[in-house]
Amino acid sequence: MSSSPTISQASDTFVATTDDQHLVEFIRKQASAARVVIRTRKRLSGGAIQENWLLDLLIEGGVWAGDRRWVLRSDAISALPASLDREQEFAVLQVAYQAGVKVPRPLWLCGDITILGRSFFLMEYVPGVAAGRLLSAGAGTQGNARLAEQLGANLARLHQIRPPCAALDFLSIPQRPPALATINAYRRYLDTLADAYPVLEWGLRWCELHAPRNSTLCLLHRDYRTGNYLASEQGLEAVLDWEFTGWGDLHEDLGWFTAPCWRFTRPDLEAGGIGKLEDFLRGYQEVSSLCIERSQLHYWQVMATLRWAVIALQQGQRHLSGEEPSLELALTARLLPELELDILHMTGAEAP
């Protein structure tokens, strides 16, 4: 879950480690085509965890005949332990696609590592803008009502997927209530660090005291925010980055989307810095009959900010430990005071 575009240059690792013929043959078989030509390929930015390649293909014969733009997504060298592997992510994408969630259409998974040296899958390319700063800067004074509404409706469609789900049996069902399990996990992480973080401890204590008693478990994206979807003039095109998906309280995704830390240039637009909260929630409730409580939303905004703070600490540790020296990771850790101030603001004397 990278907060900003990665700076790694488009490397040639794909070219160097790939025998084109194997990939071409894989696509030819899956597409039942007579012939497949890779015209161009380009590494797409974004995602320190995966590599994404845009393939321009010419396919002759079969139902996919013609010019095709597909994305090949594979594991990168360094994967985060919390994230899904490509096989699991492909399964999630299929379930979401079938539920009517806007995602790039998943095509085929390849678990045979003799082809690329690691697992990968293919999906259709979707055009659009993902950059959070651009989307929030272009949202207009009243925000982008249509985009906000579509994002709400789309999330509600995802949340209609409930456990158990045979295709997603690799996702564990959280202990109830899920909020307390999360608080415990964050505390265990903080206990591994040399320094103590009183503000984060306070945020976690507040969340423990206010933990919701009841929750509806559903399929969560867990990184549903501006920056992780593609939008065009028509509105929402596709939701990306499904590697953190899991079962949890539906308000968790709503809190993550609306938290102050994900509003980019427009802190006034509560719905991801691109729209008004009421537009987003109206879209959600057009699809879902579930009642969204404001107190629940506030609670999960605090949890979202804590989660981002913990991730910022983890990113900093990746740099500090020497595992992955990186200026971007180092600067991410320096976001902490902003997140801590948000936490104090949301849990202080005026907070519920």
């Binding site: 575009p5 103590a196 009183p198 401890e201 306070w202 204590r205 600067l331 320096r334 005071p337 849990t347």
Partner: protein, 118 residues
């Protein structure tokens, strides 16, 4: 200390990066160059304000912990542990805690990203 000092060196190094190097860099190196400039400006502010911020934090935290330990890391640990155990749950105690932590955090934000100060 030999002059110019740490923050003075960082500031002129940053100005040189932004004024002379950045315009000559190809587009894909713009973002890393701006990150370097940002890291330098944080380091310069920390060199100027860091000691004072820590002294203030020590004074703030000392008022919140019993039998204050001598070092700042130990104070943070003791306070964190007390918070987790619920020692600051009561409304009055919570108000004092959150206000003290707010002061500490504002001083850190003034170093990391003063543009985000309220």
């Amino acid at each position: 200390m030999t002059q110019p000092n740490a923050h003075e060196l960082l500031e002129i190094a940053r100005a040189t990066l932004l004024e002379q190097l950045l315009p000559a860099l190809p587009g894909e190196l713009r973002y890393p160059a701006l990150m370097i400039a940002n890291a330098m400006t944080i380091a310069a502010r920390e060199s100027r304000q860091g000691t004072q911020a820590e002294d203030q934090e020590q004074a703030q935290l000392a008022a919140l912990v019993e039998e204050a330990p001598s070092t700042l890391p130990d104070m943070r640990r003791q306070l964190a542990s007390a918070i987790r155990q619920g020692s600051h749950d009561a409304p009055q105690s919570r108000r004092i805690l959150v206000e003290a932590l707010r002061q500490v955090t504002l001083a850190r934000l003034a170093i990391s990203n003063p543009k985000a100060l309220p």
